[in-house]
Assembly symmetry: D2
């Protein structure tokens, strides 16, 4: 269980302290505030704060004096128009602040999204907990033979068992030595900033991560997608659910135009037009490479 | 007066609609929400939304589960430490969203601060109002003779009167023609995106501007400073007051370390050390250029 | 003519001063260096510097020790793969630095692309030239009746003549007064930072603008597109030609996947699949709004 | 030795291939191009490309048509003025592209500087080499007792020996298991994206890192500073030397105003003024906290 009783009590206490505000309030995301949604074996996602709601997107797009809302239907049509025509600035007017606990190798992928604000737990200053991501057997997959950066078949039980044994015993030993190095019991103790180098990439870290809705959608589009690594995708999928509760109209437009949408090249569009006129188009007559044709066939079923 | 009765009524209505939230609330900035604080002759600054407070800065710095507040004294010491040592990420955890009405030539300076989110009223889509910035006579100053990008003495009354006459009559004529060009009365009417090119840089525009506290402090440090152009400085000074109400501890640290602080070169530090030992240092013996020495003397009185 | 004889001579001189370098060189863009390509009536685009070429994109994608080039075919396939799968970082490894002269109202649109570096000619410090954008009669179009932020029919000759008269005479008068205000002949002269407010938005400004290739492609995709305002589109179209000479493989992929490509919503993809199976789909049976259906029909012809 | 003979040969070959260019050339940095400067036990820094030189900074600040250089003295005075007055955009006009090999725990600190472009060697796609950072005994320091995120005394020989033994044996074992997990010899082999989680934070990674000079100075100011962790500081110090060769005037201004400069709070300035008038000021009469006073005493000697 990721939280201590003290932490659970702190969170429960925060959830009782309602205060009045004149700001826009999204009931949907208020229900999530402070709660730790579990992810993987020791990770979580907590909503710490948010700014704005669907109406705030419209209000900013209209640079209006009041709420910017005429009706929910108008707002939905405007939001879908903005999404369809790649208007990014109104979506930047909303912010979400999360507290995330995640394995270091996931954090390394995540941090590559530069347009966010981050405060990470400091292993120069503090001591990391003894918590490592150990995959479930069902997620232990072999290297893909078609995709150089993906997974293929699930490992055999014997192969999986061997992998899990190594992951657990190496992590345990590395952490034992980390603790022994920094111990101040009968010795000075190695500096934390040095001792941390012995810890493997499946140890958990945590951070506060704040991002605007436009950049969050960009993150979700890349990380909630089928080709994203499973271990970051489960975080992205959970955040998708939170965003759907927070800004349902914007999330609906995102789901239709981005998550569910496809981008076609000029060549692909030409092929489509020919196919719609009844022509049979093959890879050879398409002008596309084999890889592009395979992806094109995947898109249009 | 910048606002219409309908706009005033919309704002008054918003200020009555308190709702409960679990988020951190800053009483100090709630008092400002939605109100139009006047700036220059037709401009204003309105707080539309905010995220976070002083405690949120500490909470993020500590990556904590609860409020992150042990005591106000602890929070103040931590915030001052963070400011003194150039830690930027905890301050990025707070956001302020403003609605600003401002002359175009001020907007052109302001927008150079790239790390903010902006939605500007579109003159391609909408018709601009007939409102121009006409300076008060007391602010009509001559080109500085010592600073190539500053102001010197106030103009003579006759010179000022001539300037004001031109500013008013040229703006009036330009706007008359703008209106006549886009009019659809007996003609098609020129596209708005073209007609706007006839309008001078003292016409007012407006935008929603959202920025995190770290980048806001950077803006205020440069624009609330004595060398900033008066017409943007008055906006910055007003925003300083709002920020002081919103996050008083962070603003206090900013006022002491940034607004009131000075940066000295290595050469200047060497001179200071010599002076503190009783040596009389002059520009000639300082190793500094005349310009640097003049600025150094200004700093240490 | 936009350049003075002195400026022409400076540029000609720069074009004679070849020096040896160990860096990658793109012959295609060397041909453009320093030359002023005219745009609109007084504007121009000049290439001042560049970093990288097509091979540099591949080299960065491979994090390689050498040139990263195995063959041009390999490079092209890799670049098309990167573009198709939204890999942005390898394209960020190339940079282009331009000197651009452009009307202020175009500059105001342009600057909204925040991920670039800009040094603008300062009208606080310097005096602007007497140069205004006066459209050709053929580009003077009426407000569109279908698109609130676009142009429709060309104006009648009489209406156009009236518009041109106003644009010219208002600009002339505004500049005359600008000059008279700042004149130090028999008076102190108004500060430049104030006098500039009398100048209309069709006056020319200029800046150095530096951007990486990924963000440049984003700019070009939005501004070389049919719905962009004509006055910025002509700049974007010229830059497209320069980029095609500089990084022909990357530009080819961009032209196919972005400029020539389309993005379809999930709903649109479902319709396409039904149509490819022979079903007749109409707006009523599509699940799309009228606006979306009209745009969808436009895309698939 | 970090490079293979093939890599050495590739680099040597690149250094023979001079080509003519019309762009500005900095002789000082051309001497570094492609060469691997060693850092730590297996790391390096290689200059891959650059854009601009000292004159380009001035040229951009002046938005000039030609070289922007009147004389080296003028350029130096202008560059020092720009640095002193926090003008950032002219420095953004220069770019440096590096190939860096560095331990993962250093990479994690480095990447927090978001305003740079990065392509990292992918451990989802490729297999990492068996190379780990093992500190020299002289750098193995205890946790500081005054600074919670720093180092204190050097460890005793016995304590150091124990630490080195653990670092080496744990890394060896982790890598052995990593290799065994991904091996396709008699098994499918675990996906690389999973197997990498077993590797400790002292394994080496590598990336292409491109940054403009303004943001590079910000990085160097924080990371070449005495409180930075030793393992990142040695990279920053090496890059300082490269930058000094590339843009000597800009580096000189940076060294004086930033690296060698100090920032004083308003309170500290008041104390200084009193001290310069002969008053004896103590912490008690300074208005500063004990921590601030200790730092203030450190600055002014």
């Amino acid at each position: 269980m990721p939280l201590s009783p003290e932490q659970e009590a702190e969170i429960a206490s925060l959830r009782t302290q309602t205060r009045p505000t004149l700001r826009p309030v999204s009931e949907g995301v208020e229900r999530h505030l402070y709660l730790a949604h579990p992810v993987l074996d020791h990770g979580f996602v907590r909503v710490i704060d948010y700014m704005g709601d669907d109406a705030a997107i419209c209000q900013a797009a209209r640079v209006s004096y009041g709420k910017g809302t005429k009706s929910v239907q108008n707002d939905e049509a405007l939001i879908r128009y903005l999404m369809r025509h790649w208007h990014s600035t109104p979506f930047e007017m909303c912010e979400l602040k999360l507290h995330v606990k995640l394995p270091v190798f996931v954090a390394r992928q995540w941090i590559r999204h530069r347009t966010a604000n981050v405060n990470e737990y400091s292993a120069r200053y503090s001591i990391l907990d003894r918590e490592f991501y150990i995959p479930e057997e069902s997620t232990l997959a072999a290297q893909s033979v078609v995709n150089n950066q993906g997974r293929g078949e699930t490992l055999t039980p014997a192969e999986a068992a061997r992998v899990l044994h190594w992951l657990k015993s190496d992590a345990t030993r590395a952490y034992d030595h980390y603790e022994a190095m920094i111990s101040q019991d009968g010795q000075q103790g190695l500096a934390r900033e040095l001792a941390r180098m012995n810890l493997p990439a499946n140890i958990y870290t945590q951070w506060y991560w704040k991002v605007d809705l436009h950049n969050l959608f960009h993150f979700l589009r890349l990380r909630a997608e089928a080709h994203a690594q499973y271990e970051i995708r489960v975080y992205a999928e959970l955040i998708c659910k939170i965003v759907a509760d927070w800004v349902p109209l914007a999330y609906g437009a995102f789901a239709d135009y981005r998550l569910g949408g496809v981008t076609l090249s000029g060549k692909a569009v030409e092929c489509l037009k020919r196919m719609l006129k009844g022509e049979v188009v093959t890879q050879e007559t398409s002008g596309m490479s084999k890889g592009e044709w395979r992806e094109f066939e995947g898109l249009i079923g």
